[in-house]
Point group: C2
Amino acid sequence: MTDEVPRRRGRPPAGGREAILAAALQLLRERGIARVTSREVAALAGVSEASVFYHYKDRTGLLQAVFEQGLEPLQALSSGGMLSGADLHDVLTRFADTLDEFLEQALPVMSAALSDTALRDVMAAYMTAQDLGPHRGVAALGDYLAAEQAAGRVRAGVDPHAAAMLFVGACYTRAAQRQMPARVNELPPLENIIRATEELLRPGPV
Amino acid sequence: MTDEVPRRRGRPPAGGREAILAAALQLLRERGIARVTSREVAALAGVSEASVFYHYKDRTGLLQAVFEQGLEPLQALSSGGMLSGADLHDVLTRFADTLDEFLEQALPVMSAALSDTALRDVMAAYMTAQDLGPHRGVAALGDYLAAEQAAGRVRAGVDPHAAAMLFVGACYTRAAQRQMPARVNELPPLENIIRATEELLRPGPV
DNA sequence: GTCTATAGGTTGATAGAC
DNA sequence: GTCTATCAACCTATAGAC
């Protein structure tokens, strides 16, 4: 242990890389990708612009890291931990809540990549490599519904993965619309969607 | 009638405004909003940069016009012309096709507005003023399903607008995923979704 | 790893002639 | 309405000292 060296002030030098990434992600979500500039990122992170390029090489490198970090919570989704229990209403509610939470974080990141074809290609490559996308949620819920169908708790004769797609699609669309806050555009409340899905999947009197 | 004055070459001077708008929309769809710069727009439209600002005042003004033009085909959707007939399968197919076509055009425009909060506000105001959004499609299909339900051709006890939301959501999500071409991410084919929806809505044996 | 300073390029926007 | 010419602002990226 040496004497305490007076730090320059503020953030410890070691956290630079993480601070830059966090700042970039925050800027992207709060103000849009057009505002994710080296200047604003550096200012928010409390470092110099040169640090940004030192750690991430160039703007594309930084945004690639932002994409990976911003999409990381998807792992929680594909684990499918919330898909247990025999009460369809509960399962759908938990699933929708988890999906909502994820999309709230991930949708701004995903749509940001569409602002430039070069960025879109970067993100598409990452999603392909990691096998990410809405199909993960559809597959997870679809598998659950298929099992329930086999157990006789879900109406027979219905493609469980297509049914899952309907439910995931509704959640996705609601989340997407929240990104564009035109308050007039009101969609049916989540509760009605869950109830309708339940009702549609309930085994009929045979 | 005076003598024929030799035109400078190429496009007639009168079409400048429209050419600029068309070029901007094309650039936005093909390369992303980050490439919709005054320079590239002017070059593609075959006019000078100054013309862009003369006609649309500033970049925001141009993009506002692009948004309005890019979302205009929504009118076809809300008219609900494709929602007639008693064969649910046909109606769903026609509806999905129309929605797909619209989203193919409109989604790149809508997501572009998310790249910057200032632009997002401009588009949100326009969508609010014109009452645009996914809720239009949901309302149109929901009303149709409600009528079919009253006629006994759709299962009773199901919220028709919530059911419409499920179907519209699936179409929307498929279209959104097409924007991010990660080929691995495969969702159930449209036909399966239509069939499942049909099956779910079919009146059960009571 | 972090900084200051700066190069070099692109962009939005205006002035003024035609 | 359209052009050429020009600018100030901004942005990415690098060099070199510490």
